[in-house]
C-alpha cells in the first residue's frame, strides 16, 4: 500500500503532531540539509508550539531555528553536535530550557532505553519508494550512509520519509525498510550534496599540523597496536587526516593487513580500503562525495547504524584499536572539551568523541599547543566532553603527554624516542609562550546546555556567556 502523502503539512497532520511533542532529524546532509528548516517552517505556519527538536547534529545552515526558538515554536533542542551559529545564540541564552547534548552512541542508546522519546521522526532520504524503503546511496542528493537515521526510524512513534528521488518499488539495497515508515513525502530537494563536505576534510599543509601528525603516527607505531588486524578511526581534521596518511604509509611499507577503518568516512579512508590496509570500512556517515561513491560501489564499505557504531551496550567502538581525535581544550586530568571555544561559546559537540575514546584501546588527542595565544592545556576544561580516564595520549607539536593511568604506554613512547612530557609541563611550555590567560567569566546561575555522557548521566553543564 502506498504511503505517499501530498505535502509535509499533510504528513504533520497525519502524524497528529501537537504542542509539546518531540520531533527528530538526522544530519547526513550536514551543512547542505534543507529538511529540518522546511519541516520547522511548516510547523510554525500551522501554529504548533512548544516543540522539542532532537537532531543528531545542528549546522550553521539550520540558523533559522533561532527564530523558531524566539517565537516559542521550538522550546527544546537535543543534539550531538552544534555549529557555531546556533551555538552562539544558545550560549547567549536564547532558549529557556537547556539544550541536551549527547554523543553519537548515547543518542540511539537513550532512544532504545526509552529515556529519549521521539514522537515523529522526519527522515531525509536521497532515494525512497512509495512504501518507505529508503537509502542514501543513490539519487541527486546522495549522502551515502544513513547511519544516524536508523535509531529515529526504529524508535519514533511515527516516521515520515522525505525524499527528492522517488523510485519504483522496491528500492534495491535499501538501508531503512518500509516496516518502520508511516508516510512518504516527495519534495523538490532535500538538500545540497556539496554541503556534505563541510568542515575540514583535507590533509593539512600546515607544517605544525604535519609535525603533530608525524608524532601521532609514531605513537601508534610505538604502541604496538599497528599489526595485522589493526582497526582505526580518525576524525576529519586536517592534522588527523595527515596522521592517517602516515599510518597508511607505514601499513603499506610493512605489509600490515588491518581489520577495519571506521567513523565518518573520508576519501583517505576509502583509499586505505582500496589499497588493502583494511578488510572493511564501517561507515556511520560519509564526510565527502568520494566516500558516497565508495559505499555505493564497494560491498566492503559497509553502512552501520549509530547504535552499531557507538551504542552503549557493546558496539564497534569496543573493537577499535586506535582513534585519533581533536580538542579545543585539554585539562590536567586529560578531560577534553570539544563543545565550546575558549570564550565559552558552543561551537561543537561530542559526535563520536566520547564513544570512541571510551571504546578504543588507544585514544589519541591531536591539537596544537597554542592557538592564537590560547594554550591548549588548562587547569579545568570549560566543558567536559570526554572524561580524562578514557583519553590515553595528548599529542602537540611541542611534546606528547601520556595519561598517568597508562604507565606501560608511556614507557613504550619514551623508548621510541618520542618527546614525552608530563601534562603540567606542556601547560607550562604553552604559558611561557602565551602568558597565563585570565579565566573567562560565565553566568554560573544560568545553564544553557547539559552534556549527557554516553550512559545517559550528566557529565557537565554549559553556562551562559556574559555579554557586555
Amino acid at each position: 500500500m502506498s504511503k505517499l502523502i501530498g505535502s509535509i503539512r499533510e504528513a504533520i497532520e497525519a502524524c497528529g503532531l501537537k504542542d509539546g511533542m518531540t520531533i527528530s532529524f538526522h544530519h547526513h546532509m550536514r551543512n547542505g540539509d534543507y529538511v529540518l528548516n522546511m519541516v520547522l517552517d511548516e510547523i510554525a505556519k500551522m501554529g504548533i508550539k512548544n516543540i522539542t527538536v532532537n537532531a543528531s547534529s545542528v549546522f550553521d545552515t539550520h540558523a533559522p531555528i533561532i527564530d523558531h526558538i524566539k517565537n516559542g515554536v521550538v522550546t527544546g533542542l537535543e543534539c550531538n553536535y552544534m555549529g557555531a551559529k546556533v551555538g552562539k545564540a544558545i550560549s547567549e541564552g536564547v532558549m529557556e530550557n537547556p539544550v541536551i547534548f549527547r554523543s553519537h552512541g548515547g543518542r540511539p542508546s537513550d532512544m532504545e532505553k526509552g529515556t529519549s522519546h521521539i514522537d515523529v521522526a522526519f527522515v531525509a532520504a536521497p532515494t525512497a519508494d512509495n512504501r518507505g524503503n529508503m537509502t542514501g546511496k543513490y539519487g541527486k542528493s546522495a549522502c551515502g550512509s544513513m547511519g544516524y537515521a536508523f535509531a529515529d526510524a526504529y524508535n519514533a512513534d511515527k516516521v515520515v520519509c522525505i525524499t527528492d528521488n522517488l523510485v519504483e518499488y522496491p528500492v534495491v539495497g535499501f538501508s531503512i525498510p518500509e516496516v518502520y515508515v508511516d508516510h512518504v513525502v516527495v519534495v523538490d530537494k532535500i538538500g545540497e550534496p556539496s554541503g556534505i563536505v563541510s568542515g575540514t576534510t583535507k590533509i593539512t599543509k600546515d607544517p605544525v599540523g604535519l609535525k603533530m601528525a608525524q608524532y601521532a603516527a609514531k605513537v601508534v607505531k610505538a604502541s604496538g597496536l599497528l599489526k595485522d588486524g589493526f582497526s582505526f578511526q580518525t576524525g576529519a581534521g586536517g592534522a588527523t587526516l595527515a596522521a592517517a596518511k602516515y599510518i597508511k604509509e607505514m601499513m603499506l611499507e610493512d605489509n600490515i593487513k588491518g581489520s577495519f577503518g571506521m567513523g565518518g568516512i573520508t576519501k583517505y579512508m576509502v583509499e586505505m580500503l582500496n589499497e588493502g590496509c583494511f578488510k572493511a570500512l564501517i561507515d556511520v556517515q560519509c564526510f565527502d562525495l568520494d566516500a558516497v561513491e565508495s559505499i555505493k560501489n564497494n560491498p566492503n564499505h559497509m553502512e552501520v547504524s549509530a547504535s552499531q557504531y557507538a551504542g552503549v551496550n557493546g558496539s564497534a567502538v569496543n573493537s577499535l584499536d586506535v582513534v585519533l581525535l581533536g580538542a579545543t581544550q585539554v585539562d590536567l586530568d586529560f578531560n577534553v572539551n570539544v563543545h565550546t571555544d575558549s570564550n565559552g561559546y558552543i561551537m561543537g559537540g561530542s559526535g563520536g568523541h566520547a564513544d570512541t575514546a571510551a571504546g578504543s584501546k588507544l585514544a589519541i588527542i591531536i591539537a596544537p599547543l597554542v592557538r592564537a595565544r590560547l594554550p591548549l592545556i588548562v587547569d579545568r576544561v570549560t566543558c567536559i566532553t570526554t572524561p580524562g580516564h578514557t583519553v590515553d595520549v595528548v599529542v602537540t607539536q611541542r611534546g606528547i603527554a601520556v595519561n598517568p593511568n597508562r604507565p606501560e604506554l608511556k614507557e613504550k613512547l619514551v623508548k621510541a624516542g618520542l618527546p614525552v612530557v608530563e601534562i603540567d609541563e606542556l601547560k607550562a611550555i604553552a604559558e611561557k609562550i602565551t602568558g597565563v590567560p585570565k579565566p573567562i567569566k560565565l553566568d554560573e546561575s544560568k545553564v544553557v546546555a547539559k552534556v549527557l555522557y554516553r550512559d545517559g548521566t550528566v557529565i557537565d553543564t554549559i553556562k551562559k556567556v556574559v555579554t557586555e
Partner: protein, 292 residues
C-alpha cells in the same frame, strides 16, 4: 651539528612562533628577500623581540640581514646583535671586504654591549659570480666566518643561465664552494631545492650535494627538512662501523699493539678521525642514548 637550515620570513609572527619545532637544526629568520622594503623596520623589530623574549630552543638561530649595498644592513645589526643570535647570514658577499665591513661593525656592537668578541658568527651567502670566484678568500678572511652557503637563484641570474632542476649549470660553483670552504675548515651549505612539492627530487638533489662534500642544505620549505636531515645524517651502517673502529682502536691500545686492522683493512688516522666525526654526529642527533 647543522645539517638542515630553514628560512622563515622575518615579518610573519605565526610562522616565527613555531619555527623551532619544524625539525631544522638551524632556522634563518629572514630580513632580506622575504621582507618588502617598506616593512624592513617592522621585521627588524619583530625579529629583535623574538630573540629577546621568545626563547626559541632546540635549534640554532641565524638572522639573514640585508646586503652591504643597502642602507639596511647596519640597522639590522644594531637591533639584532645585542640579543646574541648564533650567527648572522650575510647575503650577496662578493669578497672579503664585505665580510670585514660587517665583522668590524659587529665587533663594535659586541664591545658596546659588553659581549665577548666573536660571540656572533657569520655565515656568508655566496650568490654572485664574483663571490664564487673569491670563495677561498671569503671563507678564510675572518674568524667569525663559520660557514658558506651557495644561493643558486641569484647566482644563475648573474651567470645569465637558466636555473634547472638538474643543476648542471651550477656544478662548478658547488664544487668551487665546497673546495674553498673545506680548505679553510668551515662548513658549507647547498642551495635550496625550490620545488616544494617534489620530495623525491629533494632527496636526489640533497644526495648529490652530500656526494659533492656539502655539510648540509638550506631549505625554503619545512617539508624538505626531514629529507635533508636524513640525507646528511650518518647511516646506520656508518655509525656501526665507526663504533667498531673506535672499539678496536681502544682494544689495540690496551694490548699495546701498533698496527690495527678491521675486516682485513688497515685502520689509519684518517679512518679514525672520520669515525670520531660520525660518532659526534650520532650523539648530536640521537643524544647518545640507545636507539634502534
Amino acid at each position: 651539528m647543522r645539517r638542515s637550515m630553514l628560512f622563515i620570513p622575518g615579518n610573519t609572527p605565526s610562522l616565527i612562533v613555531n619555527g623551532d619545532i619544524l625539525g631544522a637544526d638551524s632556522i634563518i629568520l629572514d630580513l632580506e628577500d622575504a621582507v618588502s622594503p617598506a616593512e624592513k623596520d617592522s621585521a627588524r623589530i619583530l625579529v629583535r623581540n623574538t630573540l629577546k623574549h621568545l626563547g626559541l630552543k632546540g635549534c640554532e638561530i641565524v638572522i639573514r640581514i640585508n646586503p652591504v649595498d643597502t642602507d639596511f644592513w647596519y640597522k639590522d645589526l644594531d637591533e639584532i646583535v645585542p640579543h646574541k643570535p648564533d650567527a648572522i647570514m650575510l647575503p650577496k658577499v662578493n669578497g672579503p671586504e664585505d665580510v670585514k665591513k660587517v665583522s668590524e661593525y659587529i665587533a663594535g656592537i659586541e664591545e658596546k654591549c659588553g659581549m665577548e668578541k666573536n660571540t656572533v658568527k657569520i655565515i656568508t651567502l655566496i650568490e654572485t659570480t664574483m663571490g664564487v670566484e673569491n670563495a677561498f678568500h671569503i671563507a678564510g678572511c675572518d674568524e667569525r666566518v663559520i660557514a658558506m652557503f651557495l644561493g643558486a637563484e641569484d647566482l644563475t641570474a648573474d651567470l645569465r643561465c637558466v636555473r634547472t632542476k638538474e643543476g648542471a649549470e651550477i656544478l662548478y660553483c658547488r664544487q668551487r664552494l665546497v673546495t674553498a670552504a673545506r680548505a679553510c675548515g668551515v662548513d658549507v651549505y647547498d642551495t635550496p631545492f625550490t620545488d616544494v612539492e617534489d620530495i623525491e627530487g629533494l632527496y636526489k638533489d640533497a644526495r648529490f650535494a652530500k656526494a659533492l662534500g656539502f655539510t648540509g642544505k638550506v631549505s625554503i620549505s619545512p617539508r624538505h627538512v626531514e629529507g635533508i636531515n636524513e640525507v646528511f645524517s650518518p647511516t646506520k651502517a656508518e655509525i656501526e662501523y665507526a663504533h667498531e673502529v673506535l672499539d678496536i682502536i681502544e682494544e689495540a691500545k690496551r694490548m699495546g699493539r701498533g698496527v690495527v686492522s678491521l675486516r682485513g683493512k688497515m685502520i689509519d688516522a684518517p679512518i679514525v678521525n672520520r669515525a670520531k666525526q660520525v660518532i659526534e654526529m650520532e650523539k648530536a642527533i640521537y643524544g647518545g642514548t640507545d636507539h634502534e
